[in-house]
């Protein structure tokens, strides 16, 4: 890290590591990774937020660990090492959730464990942390985790709003009294395929705002 002193900690390049994955290089909407969990844990806002935080923590720590060890990891077993680091982190997070936010951990059930198989993690470790210093890796981890989390939270907000009529468990539609007008919650929004449609809508909005994301024919 000493040599990094020449470069300001939050140089434009480093900042882009944080902001890029949230926007134009979003892991879900642009790289189309981590879709599986995005469908599963976005029925309600609360589990989505916990899931997002878990992924940010796991990804950031694994990124830093792998990056710090990158000179010492034998190339031939690097994938195994990456997996071990991710798996360790995931188990730790799972244990902490079980101990401190039991209700949420029950809702997330297997999906915390499945962070291990989330392509975003392996992808970032292999593509970024193995080739970069710990600090940029830290930013990359936070950035990609946040990019993933942002989509999760947006999708979860709409699914909870239309599917259950609540926002973070608060029965907002009931308070407005909209149910008296004959409005009903849309049960279909709760089913996983609808999450895909919301993700699709986000991709549509994003690409219509930034034409450079559209693949050339």
């Amino acid at each position: 890290m000493a040599r990094q002193g020449k470069e300001p900690i939050f140089s434009a390049k480093n900042l882009r590591l944080l902001t890029d994955p949230v926007g134009d290089n979003n892991p879900i909407t642009v790289q189309v990774l981590g879709i599986c969990s995005a469908l599963a844990v976005t029925v309600k806002l609360k589990p989505a937020i916990v899931m997002a935080l878990s992924v940010i923590i796991v990804l950031t720590v694994s990124n830093v660990v792998i990056s710090a060890l990158r000179q010492y990891i034998p190339e031939r077993i690097r994938i195994i090492v990456q997996l071990v680091v991710i798996a360790t982190m995931v188990i730790l997070v799972d244990q902490f959730l079980k101990a401190f936010v039991f209700d949420v951990s029950k809702q997330l059930s297997v999906f915390v464990g499945l962070i291990i198989t989330n392509c975003i993690l392996m992808g970032r470790l292999e593509a970024f942390a193995m080739a970069n210093k710990p600090f940029p890796s830290l930013l990359d981890g936070i950035g990609n985790g946040a990019g993933y989390g942002l989509i999760l939270v947006i999708v979860a907000f709409f699914r909870e709003f239309f599917g259950s009529g609540t926002v973070y468990g608060y029965p907002i539609l009931q308070k407005i009294g909209i149910f008296h007008t004959g409005y009903e919650n849309n049960g279909m929004v709760i089913l996983p395929p609808m999450a895909l449609i919301f993700v699709g809508l986000i991709i549509w909005v994003q690409r219509s705002r930034n034409k450079s994301l559209i693949e050339k024919k």
Binding site: E75, T88, I91, Q95, F102
Partner: protein, 233 residues
């Protein structure tokens, strides 16, 4: 990237495994008390739900001590087995034993309406994994006072509906015995008749879970028949 010798790779892997193992066992040991406490609260909470007392994580312990008056274990003949803590009996392990060796937990509660309620735990198989819950009976040991069900991983919106108030709410008032004969409560596909005291509506799209629940009720409750017959008043 450097070339590493085989010896280096082995040493590296060995150290990595030891470090990770230490870290994980440390975390598991340190967090275990908190996790077990959570499971205990969860269990008490669902027991309270089965007698229609909503509890939060904070007041579960207090309400449990207030409403659950006694707990004991019986065998399939209906006799009390001394020296076993009903709360710590794991139903899944009991179900693997021969019937005569099984410990059957019984919990007695008195909710605010003064009814002497008997709570018994049930556990069975859903579509994807175990389903479980508590059934509470009125003092005639025939009429259902309340139920609560939960599941490990049934399909959301389909089988997972068994732990919604809509489904659970159909059970109170249903009867387990028909003129002294045990018939349990059936889960009727296509809907139970409104005056059917032994049937509730099945869940559309959750047929296997519904069937599993019906079997669970029958299998678990029938072990208590001797006890019920001895203690009915």
């Amino acid at each position: 990237m450097k070339q590493f010798s085989n010896r280096y790779i082995f040493v590296f892997s060995a150290i990595m495994v030891v470090v990770v193992a230490t870290l994980l066992s440390l975390a598991a040991t340190l967090l275990q008390p908190a996790q077990e406490k959570n499971l205990e609260i969860e269990k008490k909470k669902s027991m309270l739900e089965s007698i229609n007392i909503p509890a939060t994580r904070e007041n579960t312990e207090e309400l449990y001590d207030k409403y659950i008056k006694e707990s004991f274990v019986i065998n399939s003949k209906g006799d009390t087995v001394a020296g076993v803590n009903a709360f710590t009996v794991v139903l899944r392990n009991e179900q693997k034993k021969p019937l005569e060796d099984q410990y059957l937990p019984v919990f007695k509660a008195i909710p605010d309406d003064g009814e002497k309620v008997t709570i018994i735990p049930v556990e069975g198989k859903g579509l994807w994994g175990p389903i479980y819950g508590y059934v509470s009976l009125r003092s005639d040991l025939n009429t259902i006072y309340g139920v609560t069900f939960d599941h490990k991983g049934e399909t959301p919106g389909l089988g997972a509906e068994i732990n919604t108030p809509g489904f659970e709410g159909m059970f109170p008032g249903k009867k387990l015995f028909d003129e002294g004969k045990f018939v349990s409560v059936r889960v009727e596909k296509g809907g139970a008749a409104p005056d059917d005291v032994h049937g509730v509506d099945a869940i559309s799209g959750g047929t296997i879970t519904s069937k599993g629940l019906q079997n669970m009720l029958f299998d678990c409750i029938q072990k208590y028949i001797d006890y019920f017959n001895k203690n009915r008043n």
